[in-house]
């Protein structure tokens, strides 16, 4: 060891110097002697991660966040979070000489007069859209594979809070340039706040520092956007990742994958290289999009002014569901009581959207309570093997998608040449009815796929080979499924509805009744996995592993 440290890498020593490790080993040793990090590296470096494309979606979100941090830091160098009125004298002619806030003016300068500024703005904004979209897709993957089950319920909640915080980051950031579009968005927030009885007006005045729009809001949103929210997000991401390390990664059911092991590659060197490379790929995609496609052209929108509103004014996509919910409320939903107006058109939206968000956040606990399942799960469910959960997810996605689509009702009307009223009425109907339809269809499709799996396990694949029996009968030879594939098809958890049992006092409580009812709803329609007995029985007098034979007597289809 001492010898390596005395040998500098550039001192001309030949082969044997390199064999001892040279500079890398020396540096590693230097660091280890002072931090004892080798223990952690040994532990983390041998950490196994399973390989599947859908396991990288969370990484996409993480990398987008890193891109947002980098580009955002650049933007803070030039952005002025002030609503002081200035006259724009930059290089975009259609806004020259127009009074605007310093925030808008500095954003214009970033876009037109600072080298690389527009690219950084677009990188920041596109990465933000990708960040929330990747979180959304990541969450869908977690949900539909049941990765939120014990012991990962808390990590689901943390992830969901991150999703909400990402939306908050997006909204606060989008409002900073003080342009017409974002000002209209703030006005909607202001209206929603003021629609809350008793505290609404006060809250609005508190937020805006007086009557909307005031001169404070950009500065306040800036503090939230660059200080408080990112700090919470970074802390929660750290917890989120720590939990991933503690729980170990889940894996899809497959031959050799059990609840006790993790099959995949170690972090060092494979995963570190893959994940590191993947960061640059994500960065590259964002850069490519940002350099080719305009996003949030504030020079078109102009400075905020409470009077104009542009046609086609929408929020960024992740706020769309809330905007859509507002658009779907039929006219006249308000009443006057004790000389105060109660705006149900806003309160209903707040209640429905709020309830939806809370239900999604606590879903793991609801499902655990219904199923009474207290086991740890490290093997993922194939979505078809949890039909009711998949159907609930499909209904939720449909509901969200309806609200989301409603936010673009006017764009749908103009681009598909249909009437605005027709679009709104159709989406009103789909918001309420389509989730039920989606639930039914998804559940039936899951059950049908499970039946198909059963059929394949018991009787194999149709081989397309037709054999004529001695008696003249034609039958098709079935190809038995191989052992590895069969493992995947039969190894899933089977649940039965809970039995209603009296408690210690010999009574059956109301909660127990509800729970029993819910488990019946959850597991009533189910396809049990194929058992060994069934498997043996299906293949009659010969073992399952035997492939088809030309002897007609061995063809045992049905």
């Amino acid at each position: 060891m001492t010898t390596t440290s005395t040998r500098a890498p550039s001192n001309g020593q030949t082969v044997e110097t390199k064999k001892t490790g040279g500079f890398t080993a020396a540096a590693a040793n230097y660091i280890d002697e002072r931090t004892s990090i080798s223990g952690a590296v040994k532990e983390l470096g041998r950490k196994i991660f399973p390989d599947h494309w859908s396991f990288l979606l969370g990484e996409v979100a993480l990398y987008s966040f890193v891109i947002i941090l980098l580009s955002g830091s650049f933007l803070t160098f030039f952005f002025q979070a002030s609503m002081a009125e200035v006259v724009y004298e930059g290089s975009y002619p259609p806004l020259k000489g127009i009074p605007m806030s310093a925030a808008m003016s500095s954003t214009m300068d970033i876009s037109f007069d600072i080298r690389g500024g527009l690219l950084m703005r677009q990188v920041h904004h596109w990465a933000a859209l990708l960040f929330v979209a990747a979180i959304g897709l990541h969450m869908l993957r977690i949900y539909f594979t049941g990765a939120f089950r014990k012991p990962r319920e808390l990590n689901w909640v943390i992830g969901f809070i991150l999703f909400i915080l990402a939306m908050a980051e997006g909204f606060t950031g989008y409002s900073l340039p003080d342009d017409l579009l974002s000002g209209n968005g703030l006005r909607i927030i202001d209206g929603m706040l003021k629609g809350i009885p008793v505290i609404g007006t006060w809250t609005s005045f508190l937020l805006f520092g007086g009557e909307f729009p005031g001169t404070d809001i950009v500065g306040r949103l800036y503090s939230l956007h660059i200080l408080l929210l990112p700090a919470i997000i970074v802390a929660l991401i750290a917890m989120h990742l720590l939990f991933v390390v503690v729980h170990k990664h889940t894996q899809y059911p497959s031959a050799g994958h059990t609840n006790q092991n993790v099959v995949g590659y170690p972090v060092l060197p494979v995963y570190a290289a893959k994940a590191g490379g993947f960061f640059f790929i994500v960065f590259g995609v964002v850069m490519l999009i940002a350099s080719l496609f305009t996003i949030n052209p504030i020079w078109n929108y102009g400075p905020y002014d409470p009077s104009p509103v542009s046609a086609g004014t929408q929020p960024d996509w992740y706020i769309g569901f809330a905007d859509g919910a507002l658009r779907l409320i039929p006219p006249g939903w308000e009443f006057v009581w004790l000389n105060h107006t109660y705006s149900l058109n806003i309160l209903v939206v707040l209640a429905v959207v709020g309830l939806f968000i809370v239900l999604v956040m606590v879903y793991p606990f609801i499902e655990a309570w219904i199923t009474g399942d207290k086991r740890e799960h490290h093997l993922l469910d194939r979505p078809r093997n949890a039909p009711t959960r998949t159907a609930i997810g499909a209904a939720g996605v449909t509901f969200y998608a309806s609200l989301w689509a409603a936010a673009s009702s006017d764009i749908i009307a103009t681009h598909f040449h249909v009437t605005m009223e027709g679009v709104i009425h159709t989406i009103q109907a789909t918001t309420i009815l389509a989730p039920f339809l989606a639930f039914f269809i998804a559940k039936r499709v899951c059950l049908a796929l499970q039946k198909k799996d059963r059929e394949i396990v018991l009787h194999g694949y149709e081989s397309g080979r037709i054999v004529r029996m001695p008696g003249g009968e034609f039958i098709e030879v079935h190809q038995p499924v191989d052992e590895y594939e069969r493992w995947k098809l039969v190894s899933y958890n089977d649940f039965k509805p809970l039995m209603l049992r009296p408690n210690a006092q010999g009574k059956i409580g109301a909660a127990e009744k509800i729970r029993a009812g819910l488990t019946r709803w959850f597991f009533e329609d189910r396809i049990a996995p194929v058992t060994q007995t069934e498997l043996d029985h299906a293949h009659g007098d010969h073992p399952a592993a035997i492939t088809d034979s030309d002897r007609p007597s061995e063809i045992t289809d049905k």
């Binding site: 859908s54 876009s111 305009t294 052209p297 960024d316």
Partner: protein
């Protein structure tokens, strides 16, 4: 009580400002004043009408009108159940409606759609001259108002305040009620933009010279032409329709590309 009151009212209505003909007289006086004032203010009207109002052109226009327009608008442009009266709509209206192909209308619908122009420039001019000869109305604007060399910043601000709520901030168009819509203002000639403002075609309100001065209309045209002739500084504009296009783009192409790459990264080597 009530009978007495109505009796008294009926008596008093017969004289002075309650006279049955009083309202007619009032309208006549009003028309005289507004017409006189209009003639005094809009000097361009007089200039333009003298241009294309040779008797021969008007006669030719009348023939074209009778053959192509009279079915709906009536033989003397007085209007019918199928189409409005064209008396007083002016040459600008004819030039816009026929010049953009909206008239003759292909079919009744929420609003007349743009389509390939059906007439030659001379025929349109003749039609315009004929309709203008029926009664004074907005004339075809003078060339100096259409040079798109005004103040784009003023035009942009006016456009945001007066036009953007239907046409979108860069004139990409927008939805109205019951299947009507504000069309995109891309590749529309300066003359047609000006005429649309002064005549208010379809569902558009009229922006007369009291409302937006001819000079400011020139500024608005300047802004629209600036946007049309200068590509978006940020790259492809995705239709300039705002966050909906951006959201769809990131989900379909952005996340689509990323997912394709994740599949590639985790693919097993053959």
């Amino acid at each position: 009580m009530t009978t007495i009151k109505t009796h008294q009212a009926r008596q008093t209505r017969k004289s002075g400002r309650r006279h049955p003909l009083a309202s007619v007289a009032l309208i006549a006086i009003g028309l005289l004043f507004t017409g006189g004032a209009y003639a005094a203010f809009s000097t361009s009207t007089a200039v333009a009408t003298t241009d294309a109002s040779s008797q021969q052109t008007i006669a030719e226009g009348e023939k074209l009108f009778a053959a192509n327009c009279a079915t709906c608008h009536g033989l003397s442009a007085q209007g019918s159940a199928e189409g409005p009266s064209l008396i007083g709509v002016g040459a600008a209206s004819v030039d816009f409606q026929v010049g953009t192909g909206r008239m003759p209308m292909q079919m009744q619908g929420p609003q007349a759609q743009k389509k390939p122009v059906q007439f030659t420039a001379e025929q349109i001019a003749a039609l315009a001259a004929y309709v203008a000869s029926l009664a004074p109305g907005p004339a075809i604007p003078a060339a100096e108002l259409l040079d798109a060399a005004g103040d784009a910043a003023v035009g942009a601000e006016l456009f945001r305040i007066n036009c953007a709520m239907c046409h979108n901030v860069v004139g990409a168009g927008g939805a109205l009620t019951e299947g009507k819509f504000a069309p995109a203002i891309e590749n529309v000639s300066a003359q047609h933009i000006y005429e649309a403002m002064v005549t208010g075609p379809q569902n558009m309100p009229v922006f007369n010279d009291m409302n937006i001065s001819p000079e400011n209309k020139r500024d608005i045209i300047t802004y629209l032409k600036y946007v049309e002739n200068n590509p978006s500084p940020g790259g492809l504009a995705l239709g300039s329709i705002g966050p909906v296009a951006e959201g769809l783009f990131i989900w379909i192409f952005g996340l689509g590309a990323i997912v394709a790459l994740t599949v590639w990264i985790t693919a097993k080597s053959n």
